[in-house]
């Protein structure tokens, strides 16, 4: 096993979002941890007995921390498995991922949480953390055992792809969670307003004759929950924000001192509702792709710090779930393998410094959820990604290692390629191998 030895990553462009470091240098891993890092490390050569990885000037950063992934295992292994997600993560430079509790059985019980953790450890790919359910069976009615789930390792709580609809239940959930200082993450959609809809309400839906999901469905839920969290003195996280209006109330909530954070996913800053085009079900996402002005607002939210993290929102669907009339097709797209490349557009097209883009993909979600990793600090886990930010390629789902291929970015040209992924000092992906 290589984990016991030392590896030197030399000739690297070191990017550490935790400190803002962006400099040429080298990094040394020993076993599972980062032993040393710096511009002058190994300036006089690498001593004997240390394995050398020549980074050839490419970017070396903390492995990506993806805070929203659907695994489908246990329960829907025909759509995705821990192994499939693990392979996709490796290709995508993701070294930690946090899975939603919408498995079958649901992660509302310690035994399911432990099952997922045990299976993930055996695979030895990306580290897998889990959200616990807010309510039993994700039914939105009875509180799940959040205290004990947290003790068993749940890093935060959510009802996954469904919002906790009942305001009284959400109020009690926030209140109960705050007893133990737990974080609740909410899917931002008022279910009555969204019911029956299959894409964003607007011009495209009108032309296509598709039932819409109005943008107000998002802001209404977000505004409600911010008020509830404020009243309960609880911490709230809004998952995959997609509208300008929701970002606006989040900003205002923060200004009042509410403990609210949010994330978004690549489709919401890289695509808009036009992608649905000719009833492309791969562009059927939840929340739905919005209008161009919302997409721009999401970019603005990323730049001004309103948005804490970018998550892949990886949601595998099999062919049978997508090859259907648009209204009947399942929501969701895979995203682990394209997370870094699509996010690089924030650097290339929007002018964000690389280290700032990486912060949203590594350090900030890790900090929010209290996860190790997301930094190149000495003593941190040796979870690394080596990538070329400029390498251009065209996204081709047929080349995905993911079991499901439903990418909304099908055919899109991107810039940015993962060259190597390291988990606990061990290379789990090497593009040249």
């Amino acid at each position: 096993m290589m984990t016991s030895g030392k590896t030197a990553y030399i000739n690297a462009r070191l990017l550490d979002p935790a400190t803002g470091l962006d400099a040429k240098g080298a990094l040394l891993t020993e076993g599972r941890t980062i032993a040393d890092i710096g511009p002058s490390l190994f300036a006089d050569g690498v001593p004997d007995g240390i394995r050398v990885v020549d980074c050839s000037g490419q970017c070396l950063a903390p492995g990506l921390v993806d805070m929203r992934v659907q695994l489908r295992e246990p329960g829907e292994e025909h759509k995705g498995t821990l192994a499939s997600a693990g392979q996709s993560a490796a290709v995508g430079g993701v070294t930690s991922m946090v899975c939603l509790p919408n498995t079958e059985p649901v992660i509302d019980d310690m035994s399911v949480l432990e099952f997922v953790a045990r299976r993930a450890r055996k695979l030895g790919l990306a580290k897998v953390y889990a959200y616990g359910a807010i309510t039993k069976g994700l039914k939105g009615e009875e509180l799940a055992e959040m205290g004990m789930l947290a003790e068993a390792g749940a890093v935060a709580f959510t009802d996954g792809v469904a919002a906790v609809a009942n305001a009284k239940t959400m109020r009690r959930a926030l209140s109960y969670a705050s007893t133990f200082d737990l974080l609740l993450a909410q899917h931002p959609e008022e279910p009555n307003l969204a019911s029956g809809g299959s894409m964003n309400s607007g011009e495209t839906a009108t032309r296509l004759g598709l039932p819409g999901i109005p943008a107000v469905a998002e802001v209404i839920m977000v505004a409600r929950d911010i008020r509830l969290a404020e009243d309960a003195g609880a911490r709230l996280h809004i998952s995959h924000v997609s509208t300008a209006a929701a970002l606006d109330v989040i900003r205002k909530g923060r200004d009042r001192g509410v403990q609210v954070t949010c994330d978004t996913a690549p489709p919401y800053f890289a695509l808009n509702e036009m992608e649905v085009g000719d009833y492309r079900t791969f562009a059927k996402l939840s929340p739905p792709l919005r209008v161009e002005s919302d997409r721009k607002a999401v970019i603005e939210g990323i730049k001004d710090g309103t948005i804490t993290a970018i998550a892949s929102d990886h949601a595998p669907q099999d062919q049978d779930s997508k090859r259907l009339p648009f209204a009947q097709a399942a929501f969701g797209g895979v995203g682990l393998e394209t997370l870094l490349a699509v996010s690089m557009s924030l650097h290339h097209s929007e002018g964000m410094p690389l280290v700032d883009v990486l912060a949203l993909l590594t350090y900030r979600p890790a900090q929010l959820l209290g996860l190790p990793g997301g930094t190149l600090a000495q003593g941190a886990p040796a979870d690394l990604v080596l990538f070329d930010p400029n390498h251009g390629w065209r996204i081709d789902p047929d080349s995905f290692v993911s079991k499901s291929k439903n990418s909304p970015f099908d055919g899109k040209p991107v810039q940015g390629k993962v060259l190597r992924t390291v988990v606990d000092g061990r290379t789990v992906y090497d593009a040249e191998a």
């Binding site: 039993k136 009875e142 055992e145 959040m146 205290g147 109960y176 007893t179 309960a232 003195g233």
Partner: protein
């Protein structure tokens, strides 16, 4: 046991709550009750202090122990007692509470012991009654005789109430026992803490003079008294609490959590207990720590004292003395 002219402070006709009572009033009730504790341990427990008087127990909520305790108290003082429960009352036939009160008042009861599921209902009823009304529990509001018997239990064990630190743990939100105890302990100079998950403790409770904790080990630290409250089953089905096991894990009293309190801390519970839910079974039976059975014993004495003092005050009113 007639305390005679010694009664100088407690001059109320009704006992509707602890809120508003003064330290001398409470001390007087406890002193009076303390005498009855001894009398209740004798073979002949009876006096004729309330001979000829009528006490009606009017219970709109099910109760066995409180009703029995009041019934025994009245009988040991020589009164005639009648128990009315909701199933046999005309409330079921659509009579309003005020009509019920006026109907009963026409029968000239000397004391009416009332329990009702709505906060404030006993007060409303008392406005139509000439005799004395004792609140045996109204909604989540007050249960004054429980707080008094808890106080007597503590005083007999610790000598005093002032300066003690008391942690009240569990379902504070839905507890009249908690509210009466918070009032009484504050009036008597004790320091009161409440310990509960946030779903079971209303935020503004701090304004009632308590320190709020959400962790048992912190809340129990250096306490003299640990008062556990009963958790209703219906609160544990996911609306206020996820489950029995989660509640017991974090908030149930066991030896380990109790070890954070003072070594001689007493464990109290108003009953009926849910063993293995809010309190570990062996701890509940630990004679060195648990005074739960003593609370029941002293309950009768406290209720005798209340009946005695209240009816005496009626006599003074009639006589126009006060």
């Amino acid at each position: 046991m007639n305390t005679g002219d010694a009664q100088r402070f407690f001059k109320h006709i009704h006992l509707l709550g602890i809120q508003g009572l003064t330290p001398p009033e409470i001390t007087e009730i406890l002193d009076c009750a303390n005498v009855y504790v001894e009398q209740n341990r004798k073979a002949d427990k009876k006096t004729d202090l309330l001979k000829g008087r009528t006490v009606i127990n009017l219970f709109f909520e099910n109760s066995t122990r409180t009703r029995t305790s009041f019934e025994l108290a009245a009988k040991r003082l020589g009164a005639d007692t009648i128990n009315m429960s909701v199933s046999t009352s005309s409330i079921k036939k659509g009579e309003t509470l005020v009509d019920t009160a006026m109907t009963l008042n026409a029968m000239h009861p000397d004391a009416l012991v009332v329990r009702h599921g709505d906060s404030g209902a006993v007060k409303l009823l008392s406005e139509k009654i000439n005799g004395s009304v004792i609140n045996a529990g109204d909604g989540y509001h007050e249960h004054p005789t429980q707080a008094l018997l808890d106080a007597l239990t503590i005083r007999r064990r610790k000598g005093t109430l002032g300066g003690l630190t008391v942690a009240i743990c569990g379902d504070i939100q839905h507890s009249r026992v908690a509210r009466s105890n918070i009032h009484l302990l504050n009036i008597m100079g004790a320091r009161v803490r409440v310990v509960a998950p946030r779903t079971l403790v209303p935020g503004p409770i701090a304004k009632m003079g308590v320190e709020v904790f959400h962790d048992m080990r912190e809340g129990l630290k250096d306490c003299d008294i640990v008062m556990m409250l009963r958790i209703q089953q219906e609160r544990m089905q996911g609306n206020f609490l996820p489950s029995v096991r989660e509640f017991f894990h974090f908030f149930g009293l066991n030896e380990e959590k109790l070890s954070h309190a003072k070594p001689d801390a007493l464990v109290m519970h108003p009953g009926p207990m849910n063993r293995g839910v809010e309190i570990d079974s062996t701890l509940a039976d630990d004679m060195d720590r648990s005074v739960i059975r003593e609370q029941v014993e002293l309950g009768v004495a406290v209720r005798m004292a209340c009946l005695e003092l209240l009816t005496k005050n009626q006599d003074r009113m009639v006589g126009g003395a006060e």
